[in-house]
Symmetry: C2
Subunit: 697 residues, 2 copies
């Protein structure tokens, strides 16, 4: 159901007084004005308190006719939207989209150019975008810079990643705003290819908390045909300015009117749950463009993947795990993606009710794929001699399992696009319905960044092309999502952040990593975080290894609830799950698509407690996680249906559990509860609790 | 039959004495030496006269470890090759490949890097290339500069195009070497997108003539995975140095050992016929890589094309002929590529025995395709509403005609590669066997040049992909060919030079243009020059127009013999041919594939007379052309088979013919001749003669 109110006000003298838009509940207020030089600016109040100071807006154009100043207001239009829509897959069956909008139509007398700024004010924050209507004086143009400002009111606490247009796989730094400085980033972090070029630049989403308890998050939505935005930081004045990923020539975006920029968003609340649960980013994206979405399904999967990360097997057939060995094929017997090994995973997946099996390292090229900016690495169709595509897929089919294709592009995007149709036809021929893509390395076309307009268009093109084939895609090392999966829901997932694998062979992920991701990376879309590691310490594979997952086993279970994704991997090895089938039961039970989600407790960097109701049953699931500090809390179960009894199975940290000292220590207990019950939770250091609630009768 | 002699000499002290290789007849002699700094250089003598002075060789690498000096010689190998091979299509059925080779294996003690220089010395010139063997100290590397020198001995006459990595569609300048200067180029020349950046730089092939009558031509062969080479010019010292097309980052080539550079070639003779008839460039390319070539056929075609150039119809459906009208579709009825009009061409082609019909402007996008660096213009599959793909192709099939697809990429190569498989599948579905491609505009990926490594790889990739589909390709606005059609003979033709169309709407082509092309552009491969214009003056279409083809009608016929191509268009409109069916008979008779070719008279920029024997009959054809000067000559017909009588049909300039004053004036006469006959030819100013010889029983 959709209710729409439209009011267009044509005011006589816009210049004199500021234009104001309030959120539906009036908690958020945005003010817009032109200064004496015709430069547009805005400011934002939250509950009558200023949270964003006077911040200028505009864009510079390569032709020199900048869209920055000398504007006058042609008209101002207002409307209110209050609608509800249904995502194909999601955290909830119905999403409310309620905001007040103001469209400010600007023009420059001298250049004759027109530009609109569209503001949307929601109860959990504001959004604005630039709109360039079709016009005589502006057809093709090149954005050389966007100069959108976000001027803050104090020295907030900030969770930040260093500005880097090639990777978002860093750990988060948690500092005061004034302490932001990319020099403090530990560069020995396992990231294969990184490029920090500025001392004072951060990525978005940028999560902040003011000293008086107001949460702010700066991000963007609907990044389509435009580069990714990062933020230049002025640590003295607490101000931020947009910084767009350039191409090889230093240009930012090639546009043709009519067109729009992505939305720039600022989420604001004094309750962190409003931010982590916000659907603003999705609401700012275009509705689904696919007529038939019946083939888009949530998916739980296992895969030939973690065993390579832990060093048990290799991606390459040669088995050297040397990515630059000049292509020599001398098999050592350590190759992971064999027909036999894959069948073992298929058997395991079928036995435990999973939907799919991913296999990495199936295709020729892994002997010499990384680190040399090589253009022609993979052809996405030639399997290694020990991987029989037909046998594997026939076997999977006989067991009711879908194979998940793997397309590592080694960032040679030009090559991938050349082969994409052949790759998709191969997938079709063997019955694949989904693929994981990868973009490890320096981009080809050379000079492009992972976050540039060209690459943004590439990721979106791939999603569209997969949709043409009714296939789903899950991109790794891509730019982080900004809600485009609303428009192309077959773009089911992305990594685009620091995932679990870093724990296997690097300093790993900070203990509080998963308490930050939902406030940052996940705001743009689901993450293929690949949780579920039961064999926490790498010393289990090799006594000399010190690496480990920075989590208890129970927390690994809780992540299936706290980290929303319609694509969820049980990332550990079958043999490790076999050792803990009681705990594994939670992963088997937890769904990946939801009717309803309740964020019960939230504090970025500290803890998160979420309850979700299965889309297809009356079952509820709860996940609670904490950071490096143990935590005791009591949860009211009032989200459960009244007048129903539930059997709650609680998977919790054992008494001596500790992410570092005793991570595998866990307990499972079963109790009966109702919506009136409360449950006391104890989370160990780096721990968590997972609970399933099943109605009794 | 192939005879191969291999001798490897390991000399004790290479440094002391120069190494020498002579051509089989000993007319050409190349000397190689290292100087005291271990810098390799060569020089060339022709008939004991020095023609290339001491010229240094080497390459600079981006990592700083240049391959320029500090070399020592590890070994020297020599061999002689004398073989004959058969091209799929060509000027002759058998091609002789006879040369002496020297491989100089060099290494740098400090860097540990190895590089070979391979020299081949033919009777008509020399060739050398750099070879980088597989080695420990050199795997991946980036060429930042190639510093191959070509140091000449005097102030030769030179036929040159200005250095420009984006277009080769200039008229030739004919000056002394000392007068080379790109400032003298008339830039009002109709070229859509050009980029001359240097004052003293020229393209290759560079044709020269010394004051003592020695012809020299500098070019390259087998440009594969490497950028195009142009030449920087020192007009004071008569020296030239290689200059490679860069990419957006200024890098020249990304290589991995083992690999090779293209061949750098210098053709040398005191008889210009040796150069124009040389098969050196083809001999330096790899043999055919296709097992089955039965589907590669010569093709004569007509097309919906010239009528757009003369303004009678338009490429775009809107009919505005405005390439930047923002995509508005307001049909005016001037669209050329309609089903009805195409059928007219099919009828004409069938009636007169042509093989194919090309249609440009059939696909959506022409309303806004040029001049704005637009990425997504064409999708290569959506016809305009008035062009029925099925109806057209069914009709063509019923008449025994093959339709030729047109893929204008507007230089958005990224987009073309994304759509290529779809485009080829469409062609397959409708029975197309060949396509003409186009690359008008600034290249996307942005920052690349038409002549860069990326684009060279693209053109070659397209040829390979077409071969996968058993289809032929003819590229326009590509980099000029360097013999790769030996390796992929389905890359049947290219424009890659100033073609006939410039005559329709610009200053046109100089009167002597076609007397230069065979000494330059055509050395690398056939050109889709689109001759055969009978309605010479554009005033026939619009009285106000002053443009014209700079040729007599008879010369237009002669071009079918002087300009070798297995793909030949009869470019004029059917209605213009209908007016001169007697002259048109020559175009109908002339084949496009040959058993034998005899270059009878040749002087670059002045005249050319060629006789060729049909591959599939005993018929001979002769073409003679001149420049702006009239010419009288007598031709011995001793190329004809002895003991045979021939009916010779002579198409010659009329008595008052003159390219400007009376271009359509022609005469046709028939005589009987034998191999002992001589024929006197009179060629008008800008004129020509075409003759067919058919045996009389």
């Amino acid at each position: 159901m959709m209710r729409l109110f439209l009011v267009v006000c044509l005011l006589v003298n816009f210049v004199i007084k500021a234009q104001t838009v309030q959120s539906p509940s009036k908690s958020v207020q945005l003010e817009f004005k032109l200064d004496n030089n015709g430069k547009p600016y805005y400011s934002v109040n939250y509950k009558s308190k200023n949270v964003v100071k006077q911040s200028y807006l505009g864009l510079k154009c390569k032709d020199g006719a900048d869209l920055v100043s000398n504007f006058s207001i042609d008209s101002i239009g207002n409307k209110t939207v209050n609608e509800t829509w249904q995502p194909v897959l999601g955290e909830q069956s119905n999403i409310k989209n309620n905001y007040n909008e103001m469209i400010v139509a600007l023009s420059q007398k001298a250049s004759g150019r027109k530009m609109n700024i569209i503001y949307k004010v929601f109860d959990e924050g504001i959004a604005f975008r630039y709109e360039f209507p079709k016009q005589n004086k502006l057809n093709y143009f090149i954005i050389s810079d966007e100069v959108s400002e976000f001027n803050l009111t104090g020295n907030h606490k900030v969770f930040w990643l260093p500005g880097d247009f090639d990777t978002n796989e860093y750990n988060y730094e948690e500092t005061l705003f004034s302490e932001i400085n990319t020099d403090i980033v530990n560069l020995n972090n396992g990231i294969g290819f990184k490029a920090i070029t500025k001392k004072f630049a951060v990525q978005t989403p940028l999560m902040m908390k003011s000293s008086d308890g107001i949460y702010l998050n700066i991000f963007e939505a609907a990044v389509v045909n435009y580069p990714v935005m990062q933020l230049d930081v002025d640590v003295q004045n607490y101000t931020l300015k947009s910084s767009l990923a350039p191409n090889a020539l230093g240009d930012k975006a090639y546009l043709q009117t009519p067109c729009v920029s992505p939305w720039r968003t600022i989420m604001i609340s004094d309750d962190a749950r409003d931010i982590v649960g916000s659907k603003m980013i999705l609401n700012l994206n275009e509705p689904c463009k696919l007529d038939d979405t019946s083939w888009i399904k949530p998916m739980k999967y296992v895969g030939v993947w973690w065993e390579m990360h832990v060093g048990k097997s290799t991606w390459d057939y040669a088995g050297s795990q040397n990515a630059q060995n000049n292509g020599e094929l001398k098999p050592t017997g350590k190759h992971g993606a064999t027909t036999t090994n894959t069948k073992r995973y298929i058997d395991f997946a079928a036995k435990h009710g999973f939907d799919g099996v991913l296999v990495e390292g199936w295709d020729v090229g892994w002997e010499d794929w990384f680190g040399n900016w090589k253009e022609n690495v993979f052809d996405f169709k030639t399997p290694y001699p020990d991987f029989d595509l037909k046998e594997v897929n026939d076997y999977a089919k006989s067991k009711g399992i879908k194979m998940i294709m793997h397309h590592e592009t080694s960032a040679s995007v030009a090559n991938y696009e050349r082969y994409l149709d052949r790759a998709l036809n191969l997938m079709k021929a063997f019955g694949y319905t989904a693929a994981k893509t990868g973009y490890v390395g320096k981009i080809i076309p050379r000079g492009e960044f992972h976050d540039g307009q060209t690459m943004v268009n590439h990721y979106n093109f791939v999603a569209q092309r997969f949709a043409d084939y009714k296939m789903m895609v899950n991109s790794h090392e891509s730019s982080r999502p900004t809600g485009y999966h609303r428009t192309y829901p077959n773009y089911i997932c992305a990594e685009a952040g620091r995932g679990t694998e870093f724990n296997a062979w690097s300093i790993g992920n900070k203990v509080n990593h998963e308490t930050i991701l939902p406030f940052t990376r996940l705001l743009g879309g689901p993450m293929d975080y690949t949780p579920g590691i039961f064999e926490i310490k790498m010393s289990a594979y090799d006594k000399t290894k010190k690496e480990q997952v920075h989590s208890t086993l129970a927390k690994q279970l809780a992540l299936y609830v706290t980290m929303y994704s319609p694509l969820q991997m049980a990332a550990d090895l079958p043999e490790n799950y076999e050792k803990h089938l009681d705990a594994f039961q939670f992963i088997k039970d937890v769904p990946a698509d939801w009717q309803e989600s309740k964020y019960l407790e939230a504090e970025p960097g500290d803890y998160l407690t979420v309850a979700r109701k299965d889309k297809n049953s009356e079952n509820w699931f709860l996940g609670a996680i904490t950071d490096e500090n143990a935590r005791n809390t009591e949860i009211k179960l009032d989200f459960l249906s009244p007048n129903k009894k539930y059997q709650a199975t609680i998977y919790q940290d054992g008494k001596t559990a500790h992410w570092e000292i005793n991570p595998i220590n866990y307990e499972i207990k079963t109790i009966q509860v109702t919506s009136k019950s409360k449950i006391k939770l104890h989370l160990a250091e780096g721990g968590g609790t997972a609970i399933s609630f099943k109605p009794i009768n």
